[in-house]
Symmetry: C5
Subunit: 358 residues, 5 copies
């Protein structure tokens, strides 16, 4: 598993250092050719989905509609689009800045006439997990999402909207905001599951063959786990503030669902904490395994040395050139020596057996 987008975001703050707050500067990388503008208008009876090329037309459409509007913006490099939206809805400049600053902490800001949520989205892409920042802003009737590139975790929400399943169509943007966050949190489980499976694979390998090449992998995983945990952790406070919001366009019924979402968030954080501990456990296990192997190497060395060094010494004795060594001329001298050596070897082996080295 590999997390993408990670290192890039880290330096996103640098670009902005020394700028006035509320400036519109995109701190990420351009990831789509053209900014896509998708609008879904729905109420209990009807739903329509339209693609726009021009943001002005989209905004006009929203203004005229009396339904709930979900405006989805894909691609943030064209700051003019963002500026139009911010100005049209009279959002605070800091909101505009936050939309364009990828690498934000997950958070919820309450600007009285609208709610601004920043969140990390983990989605599967090929076999990797991709991380992407998504901003959700909603007022009573309008919800706008901003994404860096195509592909998101909201397809199930779109389907539910289209098919009119559940209560989603009969509710307003507050419920939609919940549904989107719920989907984001659900996909955290996916990313974590991925990670968990990888841990299990490694575990076996660490026990059976703790090779040197595992060390950087384990080290990398530790950082990854810490990174994921840090990304997900502020979601707890964010959802909590979402539940506690005191705004008149927030349905009391939605709060029950948010509370449920809060439970899920707790669970996902707990799970990722468990995995973080598991990775640390793996590193310990690796070190223990390495230590055990070293022990085995030492034992082999010691057994071989302890058996042969004394034998070699005996052989050395009878290799001396003293003129006066009568043993050398004894008829069975050689034989006796060899037998003694054999006996010595046997005694050693018994000793090692007893010590459980063999």
């Amino acid at each position: 598993m590999k997390l993408k987008n990670k290192t890039k975001n880290k330096s996103s703050h640098l670009k902005k250092t020394g700028m006035a707050p509320g400036q519109f500067l995109f701190t990420g990388e351009r990831k789509v050719d053209n900014t896509k503008i998708q609008l879904i208008n729905y109420d209990k009876e009807n739903i329509e989905e339209i693609q726009f090329k021009n943001i002005a037309t989209a905004l006009k459409k929203i203004e005229k509609s009396e339904k709930t509007s979900w405006l989805n913006i894909i691609g943030l490099h064209d700051t003019q689009v963002i500026r139009s939206i911010v100005e049209h809805f009279n959002f605070h400049n800091l909101s505009g800045e936050d939309i364009l600053s990828v690498g934000q902490r997950t958070k919820l800001d309450d600007y009285d006439h609208y709610i601004h949520i920043v969140s990390k989205m983990f989605k599967e892409h090929n076999k990797d997990i991709e991380e992407e920042q998504v901003t959700i802003i909603f007022t009573q009737n309008v919800l706008i999402t901003f994404q860096e590139k195509e592909g998101d975790v909201f397809n199930n929400v779109r389907e539910r909207l289209k098919e009119g399943k559940g209560q989603i169509r009969s509710r307003k943007s507050d419920y939609l905001a919940y549904a989107l966050l719920d989907s984001i949190v659900d996909h955290y489980f996916l990313a974590i599951e991925h990670f968990g499976n990888y841990i299990e694979e490694l575990e076996e390998e660490v026990l059976i063959n703790p090779s040197e090449s595992l060390l950087p992998t384990l080290h990398e995983m530790r950082r990854e786990a810490a990174y994921i945990r840090r990304s997900i952790f502020p979601m707890r406070e964010t959802v909590n503030r979402f539940e506690k919001l005191e705004i008149d366009y927030m349905n009391i019924e939605t709060k029950i669902f948010i509370r449920d979402l809060y439970d899920h968030t707790l669970q996902v954080i707990e799970t990722v904490t468990v995995f973080k501990d598991a990775v640390n456990g793996l590193l310990d296990l690796y070190m223990s395994s390495v230590s055990n192997r070293m022990n085995n190497v030492m034992k082999v060395l010691t057994i071989v040395s302890t058996i042969f060094i004394p034998l070699t010494f005996i052989a050395g004795i009878y290799g001396m050139n003293f003129t006066n060594m009568h043993e050398l001329e004894y008829k069975y001298g050689y034989l006796i020596t060899m037998i003694s050596m054999g006996v010595l070897t046997l005694l050693m082996i018994i000793y090692f057996k007893r010590k459980k080295w063999l």
Copy 2:
């Protein structure tokens, strides 16, 4: 000891990813053939126990009764049964979803007209500890429990009901909820005791014979301890919220019992924390033992090498073929050499004794 059910639950959340909230989908595995429906109706004077095949009949029976009803549902695969109950009592859809989602965090949700408690139950099965999710929902007169499969930890509560021992029969569903939770927490002690005994066994083995094969066992135990702790930990908050509940059908007397239950929960959490530390201590002990053994191996190697390498060198000297080595022809040359070697060996042994290597 081995905990069952564990790995399965982990992935239970995945099945549901992307679904609308409040959907009725069973995320576990089917563990019984038919959903069993058990009803116990009781008041101070009478008690009756009935098995139903059909949920509708059971619900009708409950409606007509003026006694306190305990409805026990075993087997969650038949979502229709759950749906009937949820609709009959006008429970929230999220409650329905939670009943069917095994792998939930222990929690208490207060839905004004009823209380929803999710909890983990540890029960002995053969020699293993099985974990199972149990949901307890209660209103003023009705308490419903949902279990995944047969066999639970509530037999003592059933007996007390039947025999009319204690106050249980003269109280309502709030007390019954307490009694069930109390029984669940009591059985945590059982599971922990099991675990504690296993730790003690291992401790001895680690000290006497820290073999390599212990490492995976200890590692597994660490994970197990962390898992149990994580399962039990949220019970504390749950019981605390139970005590703090402000509902009119909660008897003031019951609160005293819940406070007592809270003390037990604290104690069980403390104990499991102690065991978690004990397992970590065991791993340290193992590493120390391994290190000590390595040290011993090194000592043997060093003693043998240090004694025989110099001796072999001396033998090597007199094995040289120089023509001019007069010592070789001395009458006592060989004898003196051998005696010198003996003395050298003795000195070495004294040295090692002093160093406490022998």
Copy 3:
């Protein structure tokens, strides 16, 4: 030092699993032959001490007395005695259960008309520290203590009562409760002091001679320290709740003393935490010492091998049987070889000196 009673209590909870709450079942072991019933009645002017065989007579005596009564029950196996007291004073059944369940967490429960305190008592017995659960229940004029066996830490309180020293005689049961808890906490210092001395002894041994046999001792001490800390820790909250109690029969003056007791409790917890850290420090020290010793062993091996292996090689060279080795016939060949070997050895020794291995 060894803590007694420990392992037994651990399983005390098991006995009770599955029983109705408020049942009178003694979970410990019978430690005295007969339950002893001691009564001390005192007021500012008089004090009388009476032993009873029968609990009913004692209770009648208390009822008639207008003095403050301290009833001390030794031995809990006779549950009938406990039941009589509980019923006579109209205590809650859970109180009865708690008195008989040894292995409780230290706690204070406020049952409006009386206060129930559970506490651990550490007392010296021979050279060991014995732990015992003591229950203190007090109303305005009556204080009852329940102990498992004879011997307690309250002798000084008894003496002060008899001699009328200090304010104890002119105060009521709230002050007596304080005095008893104060005595219990004071004796914690004793146990801890014991433990501290033992640590100091071991410290020296670890530094001078980190033998293998120390490992289990240190491991045991770590568990012991954790156990003591866990026993004492809840005392803090208990004393805090004692100070915060809002009951009309609690003298305002007593609160000042309880605050002082609270300071002592903090100090005892701090000290035991320090000792816990000290034991962990000892284990680290042990590991470091073992590692240092290994290092020394390695050095000896390396020095001996590094000096003699090359020398042996040289000797081996001149032990070869080539016909064409003219050095062998040189007049000073042998001498030169020996001198070269000496020089080589010297160089090695200088090298080792520089490396600070010698």
Copy 4:
């Protein structure tokens, strides 16, 4: 990367030990020749920047002006300048003392008629990161900054003031204080980025070549990370108190910006915490790498010894001088011996291959 100024500040408190509080003593080192006095007066329409040699003239200028004044003092050795300012604005003596005491904790003090903020500034200087204490004091219309030496992180604020970009010119000193703190926090990211890059470089080196010389570097980095974290950490509370300030000259709009600054501060603290963990991870990795290398060294030793010691023994056998060794005279004795040795070597190599040592 190296942090300057660090060690010096540590002892800054010593100089003052034993002095009356509120004394004007500069605890740092003189870093500029002359105290520089810079004044920027601005309102929505105009801005003027003036350098003064004399503090009295500057203060008169401020008094006469109705614009917002930013007075910047560079160099703290001339305590007379500080005293003049403190007295002119009627600041508390403790403020004066704090301005001159470099090595303070970051903090915000609310003296009713003015706000006193102490902060650490990290700025790049050559390739190092320099730390400097900066004091920000502001009343409704006047903001004064005190720096130890020239060069700061406020150039972007100055430019925005001059160019009238953003809202800065139309706001008062409260917003200016925010803008300065915002710039300080932004530059923390710079310092941390620096640090992060250095960690990444080291990481590679640790994995590829864990040489001994890395140990002091890693140790130094650990201290550095702890130091940076400690410097930045109190900024969180400071910004929080800034947001919570209840003063009438604080614009409600400014609070929204401060909340945004608070989010940035959280993020910078999180990042530095991550780096602290990363350095600890590096040290672990280093130890593991060293351990792995030791293991490899051991393997080589063991392989060589295990192969050649038995062979040498065999050679030793046939080097013995027994008269009765018939093998020596066999025609193929030598050949067979050599072949046997070859076979033995082969078997050993196969054994090592199996053990994965080769």
Copy 5:
């Protein structure tokens, strides 16, 4: 550096075990021959300093004076002096007990009509740091300090009083209490600085020469750091309670100074925490250094063994006495063998160079 007084205090609590609370028993050691009684009376205009032999005369003098009185008692062995003071000012008996119990936790007790502060004082004595308990009790006009022996950290306060510098003379005992605590905290920096320097010295030694003798030193330092931290830590709460005191004789102006003192206390605690971490870091560094050295020892052993063992084997081969070894009679047999050995050695050296062992 060495901390004195430490071990003694530890057992101070034991002496008192089992005594009634509020008893006057000195738990320390007599450190002065005679109790010294120093009185300083001062107001804005005048100051007088008097030594008394008799406490009664001193108390009379205080009673008659309308100035602020600072009574300093040196030496606690004469409990009669303490008792006189306690009774004269109507202090609580627990105050008397606390004055005499050295080894108390730093704390502030508010007895309505007076404030009782217990604190640890670190002062330099010769080259060591001495710890001493000092009690500060103050009412509106009187402040009394109790010390165990001569020499304290208050000289600068005395000088300020005498010279009338700062505001000290124009304020009352609340400010004096602040000034004394401030001086105590200032001297903590001194002790910590001492400690910090010692750490730096050791750091170098650990890196250059991690000898075995350092281990007990480092271990001792760890305990010392933990001890100092524990002594200083409760000062934070104490100063905080001092600031929060709601007593009518506490000047509002003094509170600003106490807040400043609180900042210093935070800083001193932070610094000592940093040093505690630094000592732990040193221990890690030591272990790593030892491990590195072991590695080096292993490398030398391995290099020497790996080069010479095979060479010795070759020499052994040609030392065999087979009759049929034609190489032995070759003209250049010896030469070729020697050259081969040289080549083999070279190859080995190249191998080691590659492995970076040389």
